[in-house]
Symmetry: C2
Subunit: 434 residues, 2 copies
Amino acid sequence: MQDVKVGVIGLGNVGSGTLTILAENGEQIAAKLGFRLRVTAVCSRSVAEKQIPAALGNVQRFTDWRDVVNSPGVDIVAELVGGTGAAREIVEAAIATGKSVVTANKELMALEGAGIWDRAIQAGINLAMEASVAGGIPIHTVLREGISGDRITALYGILNGTSNFILTEIEKRASDFADVLAEAQRLGYAEADPSADIDGFDARSKLALLAALAFGERITPSDIYTEGIRRISPVDFQYAHKLGHTIRLVCAARATREGLLLSVRPALIPLSTILASVQGAYNAVWVRGHYGADTFYYGRGAGPHPTGVAVVSDLMRVAREIRSGSPGRVSPFAHEELAEYKPIPITLQTRAWYLRFRVKDRPGIIATLAGILAEKRVSLDAVLQLPSETKTDLPFVITLEPTNEASVREALEKMSALDFLTEPPLALPMETAL
Amino acid sequence: MQDVKVGVIGLGNVGSGTLTILAENGEQIAAKLGFRLRVTAVCSRSVAEKQIPAALGNVQRFTDWRDVVNSPGVDIVAELVGGTGAAREIVEAAIATGKSVVTANKELMALEGAGIWDRAIQAGINLAMEASVAGGIPIHTVLREGISGDRITALYGILNGTSNFILTEIEKRASDFADVLAEAQRLGYAEADPSADIDGFDARSKLALLAALAFGERITPSDIYTEGIRRISPVDFQYAHKLGHTIRLVCAARATREGLLLSVRPALIPLSTILASVQGAYNAVWVRGHYGADTFYYGRGAGPHPTGVAVVSDLMRVAREIRSGSPGRVSPFAHEELAEYKPIPITLQTRAWYLRFRVKDRPGIIATLAGILAEKRVSLDAVLQLPSETKTDLPFVITLEPTNEASVREALEKMSALDFLTEPPLALPMETAL
């Protein structure tokens, strides 16, 4: 059968990983497909400096992406530029010229995926985005196809490798957040400006995409309640362990009677749950289905080769469709049409809570805090205090029985005026049902 | 768009789970597909006694499967009978009449899948088998599509829920194998004749299918080295824990220079590996890819609803193909053609080893055993002996440095004549690289 021809735009980490796999693994890929995937064009602003694997044979090199998109020798455009600037133009132009698109772009697809997909359907082209979330885990394929017969009731993810690396380092080494972040930056695991990772915005885009796949709703990332990990300290892990839990940046999507409840925030999860075993830069997704019960998926979150596998697997899927002659049936989502998402305030949810205080120690503190909780009709579960060296910045923890988040916030608001607190209380939900 | 019509043959656990999902989840399924999956016919020898969900509407009931296969009102036949008798006839007949087939049948597909698929290709029909292995885990979809761009180097699975339940009960409760088996039978987790589960034959069929998917070879189950769990006792878990390991019935497929090495056997796996967290009747698959590194998939191994999700997801995939008008492109395997598998003797492999002895205690035992190991040029790693109440049936353990399995067997053979042994030594490989 005839080759299917691929143009790769963007030769950074993911682009070069993709080319390596297409070059080195070409025979295996052809054995699976029954025809060849051939890279005919690549594009990068600095294409002259890029190493293109010799095994790819004759590849045209361009500095202007329009040359790839307009090339008659390209069937599928792999958009591996990232971001929402040029990437948007590339994807739109490829669709307009009737070329299928494989993208690794979480920001673009989270922000505009539904609209892009509409245009792809109209143009009769294929659109795939497995590499956009949790590069090493084929979670799109799983949600779109593998368990498509199920009705998903909850999805929990650890979707940002950098923050998971930082949290598990704090946990293992009892080092402060700032020190671990600095080391992660030295090692290249965290960016010079780490905000997208540690403040949860990267994870938020990924959750928006996975939730759209799992629940069939069109989710705007900024509608997702998001909180980062800057306030997590070694003492929080000590208390969490004491409670049989650990702490992770949890991306959660849960079907409730009110609708879909979405959040990205640090949370306590039981040490006994398989999600608690996710260490370092790994990613994982835990899915609860109404029929299939719980399933769990784990792998590398990023990296040129793991993400390259996702891009190449998408290219294979799209190439099969092109060779079969059926127009535009590879879709990025599981549903034929996405419904509108009606955001639900996170304050509606009821959870058990972990409240960590730091205080200048003096008599009556517990009584004061317990009084405020009682006033807000919040039931205290336990008070924990580990041995501490200091009396002027003493950490201790109160856990709460399952309580509506609105009530917790009211209590915290009232507590914020207390002069014995050395910093505002830290409140983390406890995901005990995992 | 027009409905796609399904005939379900076999109304046992999986069949009834499938009907429940198709009935209750019909709206969601239609929202995903853009058309309806409609059950038009069911078949069971005792169909009169079966509850058919009213929400399915008008469903024809048959006692002879030929009536389903020959019905013009059926597009896809779901073969949920199991076994290799009637099931084979059903699948063959469905293919012959040009109907697509979804099957949950691991024995049939492991024994004859490649040949059946050949005929399916010639007939231009779709053939899918997600439910045949690890019902609750969409591992077929993952291997066939999600990570198809990778080159898989190893696959490890926990694929038999009954034996995993028994092993983890022995581990938790320190009860003997026979007691735990009896209880599992009482609870309905194990069959009256438990051999298929505890002697590894069920797992072997499943490994044959997953390895065919992962490595593109046509594997006959009886070519797989298989050993069951009957000899595992509480003391083995005590020693394994002491060594930082646990014991599971491990299905392994590894690409080696000599070819594909396949085995189903109890093995020590590190407690730190995520595979060690698989408890009770759960299944899991751990895959190492040359590019994607390690990924891990976890869920229910069986059960009407988890397996029903797999069947329904396959029906959806096949229905999409039928509606798109492209003939027979849903294939059960990842490769266009399966290569022949050349069996490799398991004795070629090199592993660290756990050897457990039971002896009538007397001086010189370690010296004798160490002498035999030295004679066979096998390096001893450690000798472990936990406190024991008995001197007449004393268990202790010797671990070996990585050693060729052939040498270990020679040493064990030589040891078998020793009169201080109360039973033959138990040798388990240690999968330390997991």
